[in-house]
């Protein structure tokens, strides 16, 4: 199979196990995101794939060539990969053009020059070709780094937190450009990030890594978002509301009405997580399935507002929740506020006895 194939990779620094039996596949043309907290070993995995870190257990295959196994350790220069570093690692003593042409030394000058210019064109940096990297903005440096990694037509592209060095306004634009360049090249790409929204935006498939160096869940972005396999994965996308109780007839009684708990048996302790965007607020008259609440606070975040409220009646009476609603929320003169739950944003997790 074309692309990257890692099987049973384990890695330890001294006694600390940072990677715990990781297997993954990145087919050509696909972009896979490793999503996890900082220090969970995802960068180590990337460096193992690149050959910058020595493989301890498992195997790494690129385009059906074994590049790392217990007795094989191909140096990075023989793996035909493009690596983009978090700090870009542009060579400060070379111009933008020379940086991009750095990996093209096996071709004759003419071809190398044409190829370097072609990639620079692709990332829109042709007019800066003769500048030195320190004269460029962060976003421009990022694009040069991408062009440099792509110039030798690698079989695999590895991106290590490629947008972490950029400010928020720039990030969205650079992200979109990077994605479009990568899609044009249709190369296998493995990217590492700690930002779930970035992973959602970029990835064809996401692999969520936990702090213990294991892959907790993999799947398409919508699978990860709507069917988080574990509480940890569910909580990645922001703060959660939580209701705990005991399952009865496949559901958990709450002030918002019965909440489905999947296959939790009668009498089993269940923790139900509800995304803040899964709590919907309305005003005036009685709402079906809704419960009356007292609004405590409202913070406008721009495109949405975070509203804190306290439930007035029923089993969760007195408990506080947080809802995220589109637009601004007016605290005064709205009459009675009601809250109900979007069943698609409710995630039940049976607790171990």
């Amino acid at each position: 199979m074309q692309g990257l194939h890692m099987v049973g990779v384990r890695h330890a620094y001294g006694k600390t196990q940072v990677l715990n039996d990781i297997s993954l596949t990145v087919p050509a043309g696909e972009l896979v995101c490793l999503l996890g907290p900082s220090g969970c070993g995802k960068t180590t995995l990337l460096r193992i794939a690149a050959g910058m870190e020595r493989l301890q257990t498992g195997s790494v295959t690129i385009d059906e060539v074994i590049v790392a196994a217990p007795n094989v350790q191909l140096p990075p220069e023989e793996r035909q990969i493009g690596f983009m570093f978090q700090d870009y690692a542009l060579f400060p003593h070379l111009t933008v053009f020379e940086n991009v042409a750095f990996g093209l030394f096996r071709q004759d000058r003419q071809t190398a020059r044409a190829r370097a210019l072609e990639v620079l064109e692709q990332v829109g940096m042709t007019q800066h070709a003769e500048k030195h990297p320190h004269l460029l903005s962060g976003g421009q440096q990022q694009r040069v780094a991408l062009a440099r990694a792509l110039a030798p037509k690698p079989r695999l592209v590895l991106l290590d937190e490629p947008f972490a060095g950029l400010d928020t306004t720039m990030r969205a634009r650079v992200r979109q450009q990077t994605l479009s360049v990568l899609k044009q090249t249709s190369v296998a790409t493995l990217m590492v990030t700690h930002d779930p929204r970035e992973a959602m935006y970029m990835a064809d498939r996401i692999k969520v890594m936990g702090e213990n160096g294991q892959i907790l869940q993999s799947g398409r972005p919508q699978d990860i978002y709507y069917n988080p396999a574990e509480e940890y994965v569910a909580r990645l996308f922001g703060p959660m509301n939580m209701i705990e109780g005991v399952a009865q007839d496949g559901s958990l009684a709450s002030s918002f009405g019965p909440l489905a708990v999947g296959d939790a048996g009668n009498g089993q302790a269940v923790r139900v997580l509800i995304r803040s965007e899964g709590l919907i607020l309305s005003h005036g008259g009685e709402q079906p399935g809704g419960t009356p609440v007292d609004v405590l606070s409202a913070h406008l975040l721009g495109d949405s507002s975070l509203v804190g409220f306290r439930v007035r009646e029923g089993i969760n009476s007195g408990a506080e929740f947080q809802a995220r609603i589109p637009g601004a929320f007016d605290l005064t003169g709205r009459g009675q506020t009601w809250a109900h739950v979007d069943p698609a944003q409710v995630f039940p997790y049976p607790q171990k006895q």
Binding site: M52, E77, F85, Q86, A89, L90, P92, G103, F105
Partner: protein, 553 residues
């Protein structure tokens, strides 16, 4: 290949010291009991007093002037910032020759005093004897205090002004704040400075030889040359190594225990206490005195001598010696930097603990006094020559004689063992500033380890490579004890020439050569001043220099 090469270099660097220790414990004719009962006690006491005196002197001058120059404002401060370093250019043995010439009984100062007061003989008045332990302490203090100055100044600059101001705001005056906050924070750096001073003190041969102060370095020479006893010299050298080991361990211990993490990174302009009127003049005088006596006065006297004793024929001879010095020093500097790059880069790409330890061991030579190394190199090369000769006699029936002993190669080998640390440290420090992703970037783009070094690292650390060559070059130009012992017959360098003439009380004839050594010694001082000037962001001239440097980069 990296591992094998590094281990080979480390072994080469360690062999002379190991040979000395081995010889000390397997003496041919054991004079150890004799040494213990006669001279050893004297060597130990003299060396300890010398270290104590020079240590105390350099601490007071070094820390005091560093504090004045960094924290206070008084006339001439800008000049003193780098001027305090000037005595570093002056080898201790050279100012020892100069001051002896001036201050001895037959010298101009005592002569003038006798004239004025009508004294006729030594018994009529008291005058301090320069050729004494006290004199040696004074000479070494005058030229070695810059080490303490340099490191304490850097430490004071690094300290956030915030902590000092916090102390003041809590009601402690400037003096109490200095002793309770600034000084304790700077202590780790000051100890490193002191360590360097004491290493140089142990290493000194020229001064103690001239003053006949019986330290270990001199003792080793005496037992070797006059008593003709190699193992006795090796035994003394081993005792000296124990001193060195104590120093090294002490310094390591101080460094480990006393690492302070700066709690505030505020780097505002320094307070600059104005020292008004008399106090300002006192500060100026305090800073001026060590420069005057440690550099300006001896240089002026040497210039005067060089002018008065100018002789075209002798100058021609000195030029020849200078060429010898330069060839040797350039050779050693170039080889040292090549080895340093190999070892530093090897340890970097391998990231193995073994290579890092090997590099540390190879750098230990800097702590070994020249006299000890000289004995070690002689023993090793002599042994090598003997075995080659023996082998040739047995197999080919001819004698090869001495191949390595007493050759340029022997001197160069000695220089390399002793000064490799300078180039290794410089190269390691600047390689350390290159982020490891640079390596990854180049390697992932298809370049191998060697191509990466050539295309990425070398261009990035070019400046430091030159610095490394320069540092080794200068120290080789000044080096005396190893050169005296290891040089080929009738081969003179500037240093050995000055040593020989000064010992024959002909300093005037050697003044030009001495001046040349001082001139070369000024080069790293200039380099250091430039680094100092741009060391602190947000601080006057430094700021501008830093900006220019940034723009150039």
């Amino acid at each position: 290949m990296w591992a094998a090469g590094t281990l080979a270099f480390t072994a080469l660097a360690a062999v002379p010291v190991l040979a000395v220790i081995y010889l000390a414990f397997t003496p041919g004719e054991n004079i150890w009991p004799h040494l213990v009962s006669t001279v050893l006690g004297g060597y130990v006491t003299t060396t300890l007093i010398l270290m104590l005196g020079v240590g105390a002197g350099t601490l007071i001058i070094g820390v005091g002037t560093a504090w004045l120059v960094t924290m206070c404002r008084f006339p001439g401060r800008r000049l003193f910032e780098w001027g305090m370093l000037l005595p570093m250019a002056m080898p201790a043995y050279i100012i020892a020759y100069v001051y002896t010439d001036i201050l001895e009984f037959a010298g101009p100062l005592q002569g003038a005093l006798r004239e004025i007061f009508g004294w006729s003989s030594k018994r009529d008045y008291w005058f301090p004897e320069i050729r004494s332990l006290g004199g040696a302490i004074a000479m070494m203090t005058l030229v070695l205090y810059p080490y303490v100055y340099l490191l304490s100044r850097a430490a004071f600059l690094e300290q956030s002004v915030g902590v000092f101001e916090a102390s003041r705001s809590l009601g402690r005056g400037p003096w109490r704040s200095f002793f309770t906050v600034a000084l304790p924070l700077a202590r780790p750096a000051i100890i490193i400075g002191l360590y360097l001073v004491l290493m140089e003190t142990l290493n000194d041969f020229g001064t103690v030889d001239f003053f006949a102060v019986n330290t270990f370095s001199l003792g080793i020479f005496d037992v070797w040359m006059n008593m003709n006893n190699v193992s006795g010299a090796a035994q003394l050298a081993t005792v000296l190594l124990v001193f060195v080991a104590f120093l090294v361990i002490g310094e390591r211990y101080a460094r480990r225990k006393q690492r302070f993490h700066h709690t505030s990174t505020k780097m505002q302009a320094l307070p600059g206490f104005q020292l008004p009127g008399a106090r300002g003049i006192l500060a100026t005088a305090g800073c001026l005195t060590p420069i005057l006596f440690g550099f300006v006065l001896p240089t002026v006297i040497l210039m005067n001598y060089a002018w008065r004793h100018f002789d075209p024929e002798l100058t021609q001879e000195i030029l020849g010696h200078a060429l010898n010095s330069i060839r040797l020093s350039v050779l050693a500097g170039a080889i040292a930097v090549v080895i340093a790059i190999f070892m530093a880069y090897g340890a970097r790409i391998r990231g193995s603990r073994l290579l890092m330890v090997a590099n540390r061991i190879a750098a230990m030579g800097y702590a070994i006094p020249g006299a000890v190394l000289a004995v070690g190199v002689l023993v090793v090369l002599g042994g090598l020559d003997n075995s080659i000769d023996g082998f040739a006699r047995e197999n080919f029936g001819l004698s090869t004689g001495l191949i390595f002993s007493g050759t340029i190669a022997a001197v160069t080998f000695g220089y390399l063992v002793r000064f490799l640390a300078l180039s290794l440290g410089t190269v390691e420090a600047s390689l350390g500033k290159v982020t490891p992703s640079m390596d990854g970037a180049s390697r992932s783009l298809g370049r191998g380890a060697f191509a990466t070094m050539r295309l990425v690292h070398l261009p990035l650390i070019r400046g430091s490579v030159l610095t490394a060559v320069l540092l080794v070059f200068v120290d080789c130009m000044k080096e005396l004890p190893m050169t005296v012992i290891l040089r080929p017959f009738n081969f003179q360098t500037l240093a050995t020439f000055v040593h020989q003439y000064a010992s024959d009380e002909q300093l005037g004839e050697a003044a030009l050569a001495a001046l040349s050594i001082v001139g070369v010694g000024v080069l790293p001082v200039i380099l250091l001043s430039l680094t100092i000037a741009k060391s602190r962001p947000g601080h006057g001239a430094g700021q501008i220099a830093a900006q220019i440097a940034e723009r150039e980069a």
